[in-house]
């Protein structure tokens, strides 16, 4: 069984592991780096629980081999808060009750992050499309929309 060395900058820190080429990025993060905030909710690339950012773009880490991320940078839920301060998206999810079981939440927040980076003032409809690759079974999405609106408002105020 051949392995390859994979080095990925994860949340700003260079991390390496010897993995089989078939190792999916999500297993690299979870099994090898023990960053277990990224979850696995399906086996068909549908649910979005494993969403992370690869070089600033959201992807499904269950549909990318870790070796493909070699030399690239990955942001996971563990990298959302900076300097001990919650990201406005994290704050929004707590304030607006945007989570219940919490299983979809990490992926959902990363989708929200890309959405707000592309579109800082999204409408409700745009938010719903922005998170359409992330399934949630608990919240009915309504408070997730509110959570992202909260973050958008907060981030806009931060810019001003």
């Amino acid at each position: 069984m051949s392995t390859v060395n994979v080095t990925v900058t994860v949340n700003g820190v260079e991390r390496s592991a010897e993995v089989e080429p078939r190792t999916l990025l999500v297993y690299f993060l979870r099994d090898h780096l023990r960053l277990t905030g990224t979850h696995i909710g399906c086996d068909t690339s549908n649910c979005g629980a494993c969403t992370v950012m690869l070089d600033g773009k959201i992807i499904k880490s269950c549909t990318l081999f870790a070796v493909q991320a070699n030399g690239k940078s990955v942001k996971t839920v563990e990298g959302l808060a900076e300097n001990g301060k919650l990201h406005p998206i994290q704050e929004g999810f707590k304030e607006e009750h945007g989570l219940q079981c919490g299983f979809c939440t990490p992926g959902m927040m990363l989708s929200a992050l890309e959405l707000l980076q592309k579109n800082p003032h999204p409408s409700e409809d745009e938010i719903r499309w922005g998170i359409s690759g992330n399934l949630c079974r608990c919240t009915g999405y309504q408070n997730i929309v509110k959570a992202i609106q909260y973050a958008a408002d907060k981030m806009a105020k931060g810019e001003a």
Binding site: P21, L64, Q68, S111
Partner: protein, 291 residues
């Protein structure tokens, strides 16, 4: 959920990629966006011994107007199409379809070339490219060749690509003035493959009559379908209800749907007609400068 083992190759050039494909023949698979291949591998429906990852080959991510064509490189992602000014200005049909493909995460990875090269009649771009009369630039160990989209799809999951060839570029003629297109897609839920999809592209003449029309159908047969009789029926006609109705009927006649998880055959056929009418109506409206 765990794919079978394989040997991984990340060639630095197209030539190297083709060399690897030639060397490993049917044992090798090209990996670009990965959203067709990797799910199949996770389910163990596909087990290539060699993966040729073309993602890091430089110079394949261009999207440009040149020589009367829009040229889209093999590594242009759906999200690039979504964000492209030229797509927004001149190819509303592509924009319509792209926005409805899967979800934002998938569109950040999935490529238009992969969407075509998979040969899946459920994919959206085949119908779109059939409506737009695209050409595909293919490169292999025997050199480069250009294949019209109508000759590209050979069977379900089978295309004109040989095992040592790469779909390098999608080349689409820039539509004349007074052109418009639209994609209509019925889905079981957002992001799903189409129950039925219809791509329509029209160009109007000075009098406002239809000069030419292209119609492609998604997921209503073993292969993507170009509704040629429907297209022909529109030429020279005023885009009125009767004309569109007739084209819709001809498109439905050209479809070969089967009953499956998505819907029964009779519904799909009826929806080909209805969606063709709607897509044409919007295409005409866009050609006239509307939305």
């Amino acid at each position: 959920m765990i794919p079978p083992s394989f040997e991984y190759h990340a060639p630095g050039s197209l030539a190297d990629a083709i060399g690897l494909l030639k060397q490993h023949g049917d044992e090798a698979k090209i990996l670009s966006g990965g959203h067709s291949l990797v799910p199949l591998m996770k389910m163990r429906f596909a087990a290539p011994a060699h993966i040729v990852d073309i993602n890091d080959i430089p110079g394949l991510d261009y999207l440009k107007e040149e020589g009367g064509h829009l040229r889209i490189g093999a590594l242009v992602r759906e999200a690039d199409l979504e964000a492209s000014a030229v797509i927004a200005a001149k190819f509303p049909l592509i924009l319509d379809a792209t926005k409805l493909i899967a979800d934002p995460q998938v569109r950040n990875r999935a490529t238009i070339a992969g969407n075509l090269a998979h040969g899946d009649p459920a994919n959206d771009h085949p119908a779109v490219m059939l409506a737009l009369d695209a050409e595909l630039v293919i490169e292999g160990s025997g050199g480069e060749r250009v294949v019209p989209i109508t000759k590209f799809f050979v069977d379900t999951f089978e295309t004109a690509l040989a095992s040592d060839e790469v779909l390098k570029e999608v080349r689409i003629p820039i539509p004349p003035a007074k052109s418009g297109g639209a994609y209509f897609k019925l889905e079981r839920r957002v992001g799903d493959f189409a129950i039925v999809g219809v791509a329509a592209q029209v160009s109007l003449d000075g009098a406002g009559n239809i000069q030419s029309a292209g119609i492609g159908l998604t997921n209503v047969g073993p292969m993507p379908i170009k509704a040629e009789a429907a297209e022909a029926s529109l030429a020279g006609k005023a885009p009125n209800d009767a004309t569109l109705q007739q084209a819709g009927q001809l498109a439905a006649d050209a479809s070969k749907p089967v009953t499956d998880n998505r819907a029964p055959e009779d519904y799909k056929r009826a929806m080909v007609k209805e969606l063709t009418i709607r897509a044409l109506r919007r295409a005409v409206s866009r050609a006239e400068g509307g939305n």
